[in-house]
Point group: C2
Chain length 256, copies 2
Amino acid sequence: MSQHRHPGAPDRPGAVPALPDLPEATVARLPEYLRALHNLAETGHETVSSEGLASAAGVNSAKLRKDLSHLGSYGTRGVGYDVALLIDQIEYVLGLTHRRSVALVGVGNLGHALAGYDGFATRGFRIAALFDADPSRVGEEINGLVVRHVDELPGVAAEESIAIGVIATPAAAAQRVADQLVAAGVTSILNFAPCVLSVPDGVDVRKVDLAIELQILSFHEHRKASLTALPATGGSTLTALPGGLAVTDPQEAIGT
Amino acid sequence: MSQHRHPGAPDRPGAVPALPDLPEATVARLPEYLRALHNLAETGHETVSSEGLASAAGVNSAKLRKDLSHLGSYGTRGVGYDVALLIDQIEYVLGLTHRRSVALVGVGNLGHALAGYDGFATRGFRIAALFDADPSRVGEEINGLVVRHVDELPGVAAEESIAIGVIATPAAAAQRVADQLVAAGVTSILNFAPCVLSVPDGVDVRKVDLAIELQILSFHEHRKASLTALPATGGSTLTALPGGLAVTDPQEAIGT
DNA sequence: AGGCGCTTGTGAAGACACGCACAAATCGCG
DNA sequence: CGCGATTTGTGCGTGTCTTCACAAGCGCCT
Ligand SMILES: NC(=O)c1ccc[n+]([C@@H]2O[C@H](COP(=O)([O-])OP(=O)(O)OC[C@H]3O[C@@H](n4cnc5c(N)ncnc54)[C@H](O)[C@@H]3O)[C@@H](O)[C@H]2O)c1
Ligand SMILES: NC(=O)c1ccc[n+]([C@@H]2O[C@H](COP(=O)([O-])OP(=O)(O)OC[C@H]3O[C@@H](n4cnc5c(N)ncnc54)[C@H](O)[C@@H]3O)[C@@H](O)[C@H]2O)c1
């Protein structure tokens, strides 16, 4: 099947660069490569060149090669990468060799959507439990899972080996929920509430904030508009500000 | 020394360097500062120090000061920043001086949650229209908006001055929807479908992929587990791999 | 009026990330 | 069996981002 050799390290028969210290930027891209690879595998591709995979993942091919080289080099020069092998490689590094259990806290508007999302299951995760604080929601069944009261967190987390929690409560409750998750042994949190969480060392938090994404887009809209208004000039020639706000483009004007 | 304007003219609290070229990293943080500032304003704070704001936004204070300095310096030494003024400043730079209209395409599981989300309205946006391709969904009313057929996009987009689109369709339809949005004049897209979109120059795309976030967390879980298994050693001493996968920690093993 | 403590704004250095460009490796074919 | 076509892996220059550390500025208190 596999003759795994790896340049970097001296030849250790059978040994592999266990968990190389990957740059964060690389880690953030690996899931994208993985998704692209699964697509390729489904469409019958057995190998893929760095160029091909890079364009499927929307990145520069040199960057992709460097990323992959960090996990020990599994390509063949003149040929490319073995799709199936690379999938295994990346899944291993990402810790997806077993399905991880996730707890979802806050089964409201957003929580319902997440609970019914099949993208969890198809990409290495299992929603193991749903929690809410609202008594009228507890007991409700969603997608085969019963909503439990958040007080049951510690017991259930231990029972189901849950190490990842998703927070989909209002911002006001998020910190409290985070504390409860941590107390229950969770060491990774995905936070949808628009607020910063403080957690002990050793606990990772990632945040998804829809409004922030839109505001970043808004900035670029604003800039595009002001650029078309000032065709050439590198200089700045706008005006005013708060309490006398400037407008750079008719389209930018408020109202009507 | 600021290469913008004013070699020392704090006498002009109204004038400002129009649209400075902000580093992308800074742009990505401004929304977070903005949110923190609104919280501060609501709790009665009139001024805030870089330290205070930084901790509220979860960043290093030097970074925050440098970020703010890019927008032209509005702090007072020995005192801090004027909260209200800074809010106006940031909102101006982000192009939030008027409410931007957003089109949401794909009113399924996730789309419903987004359509009902009030975080849009409170942070500078307005969902101006909902679209879907499924005839049985068209006509449905959500939160006061009627779902329209996606073919109506061009007309509605023009009518409502929509420049930002949100894609919440299955991945298979996302590229097609993106093309339709672009054709309708949209120049910024927020994509929830797990796929890369290709768009013309001048159109910005941001992507939110829940599974990617979880996989990044998974990586760190994996690493934490392997670190506790190998207390000290900086070296690597794991085993096997795909087709003979290694396990670093009992907890990491697949549930019997 | 002057000094003192606090806070900003920024220079400089280091860390990190990116992408080019090319040598080294592999395959297929004549 | 050797050669050319192809593609990887990576050294290196470049640019961006982060962080430290401190002088300059500001308000307050005496
Ligand atoms: N709806 C969206 O599309 C959307 C999009 C982006 C972000 N968000 C954010 O996600 C979060 C949830 O949004 P939503 O629209 O689902 O709100 P929601 O009010 O519909 O749901 C919140 C749920 O959390 C539960 N809850 C409250 N306090 C709790 C606690 N202490 N422990 C456990 N559960 C608790 C509530 O009972 C409720 O069921 C909010 O922070 C929101 O800003 C929502
Ligand atoms: N549900 C979640 O919590 C969640 C989370 C993260 C990402 N996502 C992603 O968001 C997307 C939507 O997820 P969902 O669960 O809402 O799916 P869904 O199937 O419930 O909804 C998709 C909707 O898109 C509509 N649609 C299909 N093709 C269309 C087209 N060409 N034009 C316009 N509308 C079209 C469908 O009619 C349907 O209403 C998917 O790509 C999914 O991977 C979903």
